[in-house]
Symmetry: D2
């Protein structure tokens, strides 16, 4: 259905996360080797993230098997003061987000945070799908169609 050429795929860069919510311990790609990983990158003030991506992620969480891990990544590239960790915590509570969400780390002199930069994300929402070998299989920018996403995830080994 969707052919994924795993040759020539790039290794996914490690996360740079300053804080994790909904997780007792730090999460890293290194620890997740052997699992498929889905990363939902969002900003809490991004309307399409609230209306589409977060609900889709929550729906997806219900149907994923043990081989696949769902993570959120709060990639703030504007209005940094308005979207700090305290606001994010309330956002996750109000949106009933139970899966782990990391705060993308950023340096004071840079607008774009580190993980967002290393993955060359163009904005939010973005979705990155990483296979068990730690390779980036797909990189979406914008709202992703449910049927297309399901077909892609179903193909994951």
């Amino acid at each position: 259905m969707i052919v994924m050429e795993t040759q020539d795929l790039k290794l996914a860069p490690e996360f740079s996360v300053s804080q994790w919510f909904n997780s007792d311990e730090d999460i890293s790609l290194a620890k997740l080797k052997g699992k498929n990983v889905i990363i939902y990158a969002f900003q809490l003030l991004c309307p399409a993230c609230v209306s589409h991506s977060i609900p889709q992620a929550k729906k997806l969480e219900q149907v994923l098997d043990e081989d696949t891990v769902l993570l959120g990544l709060h990639t703030v590239f504007e209005h940094h003061d308005a979207m700090g960790p305290e606001v994010l915590q309330s956002f996750l509570y109000e949106n009933k987000v139970r899966f782990p969400v990391g705060v993308d780390a950023y340096e004071a002199n840079s607008l774009t945070p580190k993980t967002m930069t290393s993955y060359q994300m163009r904005g939010t929402p973005s979705m990155i799908i990483i296979n068990k070998e730690g390779q980036v299989i797909r990189h979406f920018f914008g709202v992703v169609d449910d049927l297309e996403l399901g077909l892609l995830l179903g193909k994951l080994k």
Copy 2:
């Protein structure tokens, strides 16, 4: 279509607003006498407000005539630290909200803000419709159907 008995209607209490966005001057019901007023009460972290109420308000703004004024009211009754005026300002920018939005005033020792209390709102989103005589015609809690809302507003004198 929808019968509005204007007898026995209560006068709408005056706003208690600590700050207005998208308006150069203070807005009060007293100044708006002679206009119909639609108040969208919301919280920026309330998912249904972002997905439904704000888009509906923006759509409504396009079709209202000069006799009707559309106002937002940020009624924070939880997570006060996470939804301060700076966050609201960024929220309005990201959601492209151009109509005036007031910050419902609250006292330090009270969770529920003043206007929300005086209107006995049960939560967000809420919508209050006030006629030209300053009387509360309808009070909605939750998402309001477009067709029902249009019929109601079309009936306003």
Copy 3:
């Protein structure tokens, strides 16, 4: 909100209907003088009619007051053999349409039926709104937004 200039409005042409469903007697504009009339013109094989117009008409039926009459009009301008009255009857049953629906009359040598022609409808779905004086107030072609429709109908005297 929506200004309707009633000057210069055209009188709505009388219906040419060969058969009525969901009505024990013939319906005519002449008999309906003094009522507002909403006409939903559709074809039973038109996808947008099934997905949008029929559900909207059914929703509208629940909220109209006694001064306004809702009518369907089956305006077949193609596939005449496939959309005869027997098929329409089953269609109305399956779609739970309870309001009166007329079959737009047509002559054997003409593709477009008579009422559709006299109202210069461009296709389906179309919606015609007629005021109590029998004047055409609005003529929509395509799917009509709920909020816009509500505002317009609310304004009807």
Copy 4:
């Protein structure tokens, strides 16, 4: 993600189709051995089929690979006179359905057609998914969620 136990699966019964649309030749499960097969069973007067199933099938058609075949099956179990092959042909044209659609055969003295009976379908829309070995993997009745469907189809070998 969704575990499909292929042991104990039943062999899909052969189609009983009186006529095929959008196909120059007869289609049978026997000929399709070695392909996955998705059957959308519908009735042209069934509102959920028009609003959900046909659009979903058309969307699916765009993303399926060569190993999977999409078929429609017109399973008329009521209003037989209103949903004959001529009406179906116009329906397929109006709904821009390009994939093959079979007319489920039925005997004069039976309401439910033959394939519908042999698959024990409960109504429309129904969806049957058959694997390359000709076994029924899933049987849905009602509207199927896009994400769930995609995950299931992605898992097909």
